[in-house]
Symmetry: D3
Subunit: 225 residues, 6 copies
């Protein structure tokens, strides 16, 4: 019941919404969809400042074997985000500068990998963003099958192919493809509201007043000395 | 015996001494006060190069609830350093760009938090320094009380309100308010002494000679081959 | 059978080969020598972009005592890389700016330490590269002997004095002194081959074709949908 | 879209199949369903020797608040296994002897909790089995809502209410309710096959012969010296 | 300001109260004193079932050096609990069967150590309980001073000499000497109240009713389906 | 230069010395050979009380593939201890009850594995001792070659085939085959000396007097209050 399979075509989310989610960023999107979909915080970007969003091409593969990454690149389309998870914990580098070159040639925007990567300097120079569990030079073989574009568990989160991955310095969040419009709208609302709040806070107004918290802390019995 | 309380006024350390400690930096101050007061090394700055010192406004709060951070901002004064510790281990983000904006408007120099933070990019751009246990987009609610300006345990160190926090790329050290003059004087001595040593070392003199260690290693029986 | 000892002279690898290994970098060298010799991935550089290679001067020392680092600097020669491992796990800072100044004056190219370091900012400014297990201000004493230039276990790898250490953003690899020519030659071959591959990949050719993997995945039974 | 909710009735798996899965144990069941469904290996039993299986009553709750555990006990039925996951990482003890007493009175067979538990000795004496992330005396409040019998992510695995949890000294595995018959049948086959193998191995026959591996290692090129 | 010192006499808590706290156990005592004083949950007993309480004899010592443990044994009195913390993180074994024999001869009830211990089997056989951070055969030297009976930070908790340590399978809690009567009284109340609750729960009554939580969950808006 | 190979014959250490080392135990042997050879303390026995010694049959294998364990069993001889290390970090279970049955039939005394194992209960019941990094039901394939009886790095220690492994509740230590007589003699001396010390300590004599430490602590300047 776990036959290796590659699903070539996945329904994609609308591009304008993906672009909007990229602009909003991980923390806003995560709040906007009710604090769900966050990947584990051990996933860190290899350089600061990267921020992307795109539909996931998911890869499930064995520990220490990156044959399926090569398979996956072929089914990527411009804007894809590769999301790779080994079937048991592994710190090997499945991905480096050569695969980044290949992925970029096929329009891939970046990589999320619950394992290791290498060639950090060249990938930083070519601005190919990677969020990984660790950095390691330990490479892999190309010997065993896995699957592409099946639902996977990556860094404690469930990712379905075609779900939108949003990633930046704060981490990574996954948005279900069916929810993207709703989440983008909620993010937009949140951003607007925060802009007003930010201005007030910058002027020195207090969160206690802006969020009307004074009555609450009084009722809860906070004592001032 | 754990009633939520906010202590509004805390005796502050003299500003000139705080400024001196900021200049000396964490490693010198830590040595100068007899290798005490260091916070755990898992606390890391969100961007390199920040270096601050200031009296602690301490916050003890429940896991996943940042109501008390808003309460704390009101009692901060120009130069304060916020020091936040949850009552049980938590990786949620209690603090992000909006609170940083608010804190800055009230003169807060930076944040030490034994939990998570988010909005790393905007806080890096506005140069609001944060030392945290982790980075996570997982936000909090505003529902439960805690206390402000009581003694807290933060990243394995005891911090009393008004103690001076010194933080830079090497980590974080706390100096008891009563000890600041003495520690600053000892730091100054150390810095002067190190300057002389640095020049000698730069000329190629050996620590073995500068620190008169040759007799010691001979006595201890070190064998050269 | 563990008498403290300092071995003054160690046979050095040829300089041109060391320079070549530095240019190839950790990931290439690691592959070229059959995926051996990698240090644990918890070892991280204190700033991005550093890349060095050089013969190891090894130091085995007790937890919390850096007397032997001073002893080791004296036996370093231009191009040496210091490799330090405590005899039991320790996060103390054995090394900071003063020792970096001393080491540089004696031609040391950088430090690998399976423990802590401090003075991250000044060492970053003077571009003295350090790969360490952690950053901590907690200093050490100068009281107990250890050994210099004996075989040590550092971050899970065996390092013999005179072995070549290659370190960059991807991590650290050790090359046995006797193998350096062979490994450099294999690295060179690998680099040349990768250059051809990189160009093909950049043009959009797929790894599946370049590495002739299509037959294999068919034989293994991969199903496309 | 995350309203707190309690689903009272969940379709249950057939009892005879549950009993069979309990007998087969985690490692057999995990293999039999194609190596899927394992919870993270940091989950450990509080005492050795316990082995249970039963349909999951799932609980999603906030960090540090066990109000929903009390809510959940009411909807448990004889044979239920409680599966509890906080919405952010937490090591507090949501569960101890009193709740074990209550749970047992309602027929609950045991607890899986991706957080802490306490009262280890009394729960060991009453033989109420718990698999937890840690042991801690740090209790919780009863202040905030969560949900019961919704899909949750527990120790890196997705658990739907009514899925069968199998837990023993090897860990914990979840079997989708729809798959239980098929998995039990595959487990049974596996057990029978292993019995034959075990007898052969006990007589000294080698896995190399029993699994016909000699041809394979020859073909792969293994050299004997 | 950190001169090594041994304080010979420490005011002791009343023995009857210590005996009562031992009987109540860690989880009850921790709750009774308002959820404070817990040591970190990484501290684990070397065998199950041990439960002790007694006034702390505190030891602060350097990493890898157990000279001060020998000094401390001399100032122990019948009923003492040794509490040992190194000044920087260390996993070495400061304590084994010989020191356990010595400590027992002087009436010591057990050991709390934020580092390693060894001789687990003989100490289990002689029923000398130890709670430690880890188990390791790596021994220590006897070369450097530390202090006995000064305030120390052990496993994230502040322990003053003469404070009562309560330790069992659930972990370790420290009770300030000044608070012992009050905490014992509160523990006793808690135990009595729990006994009534336990009987009700055992009969099948629900926590929802016993703690009057139904109104609360209704008010908070919990929806049943 | 890493061709898979099986070395059939390894020179064995004398049996009487192995038996003596087993009796002395890990902590004594580790001290007797100058505090070297300890495996990392994360390696834990699956049940308490096991204590073995024997010559290592070493196995180097890929992550997630136990083909070579079957190969290794064939070259084991009565008294062998299997020592298994994957070439990159892996938590999969390479070993369970069936392999334990096979290993026992060929005289293997126990297993050291720097990865996972499963079937904890049956292996506990048949008293087949295993020291592992973790427990997991996640099994492996039988597809790729590795090597048997080559030098390996296991849990941070170098193990040569034929070296003696000593393992008990305190952990694991490796003794070079060439050193076994010397180490056994030193262990014996240590045991005899400790026996005398133990009797003195049991009578209440202090380590301070037995080890003549009073002069030292006076000279180092310890102050008593």
């Amino acid at each position: 019941m776990n036959k290796p399979v590659v699903v070539r075509r996945v329904e994609l989310p609308p591009q304008d919404v993906v672009a909007a989610l990229e602009k909003y960023g991980v923390s806003t999107v995560h709040e906007a969809q009710g604090r769900t979909g966050l990947l584990a915080s051990y996933m860190r970007p290899i350089y600061p400042g990267a921020a992307i969003a795109g539909p996931a091409v998911t890869v499930s593969l064995p520990p220490g074997d990156n044959l399926m990454v090569h398979v996956a690149v072929e089914v990527c389309t411009p804007g894809s985000v590769l999301v790779i998870a080994p079937t048991s914990p592994c710190t090997d580098a499945y991905f480096g500068e050569l695969l980044a070159t290949s992925a970029r040639a096929h329009g891939v925007k970046g990589l999320i990998i619950d394992a290791g990567c290498r060639d950090v300097r060249p990938m930083t120079e070519m601005k190919f963003p990677v969020w990984s569990k660790c950095i390691s030079s330990q490479g892999t073989v190309k010997a065993t099958l896995g699957s592409v574009n099946i639902p996977i568990m990556c860094a404690n989160a469930l990712v379905d192919p075609g779900d939108v991955i949003v990633a930046d310095d704060d981490g990574i969040v996954v948005v279900r493809r069916a929810d993207v419009r709703e989440v983008a709208a909620a993010s937009d609302q949140r951003i607007r509201k925060e802009e007003v709040t930010r201005e007030k806070l910058a002027r020195g107004e207090l969160g206690l007043d802006i969020y009307s918290l004074r009555a609450k802390i009084k009722e809860l019995g906070l004592e001032y000395k």
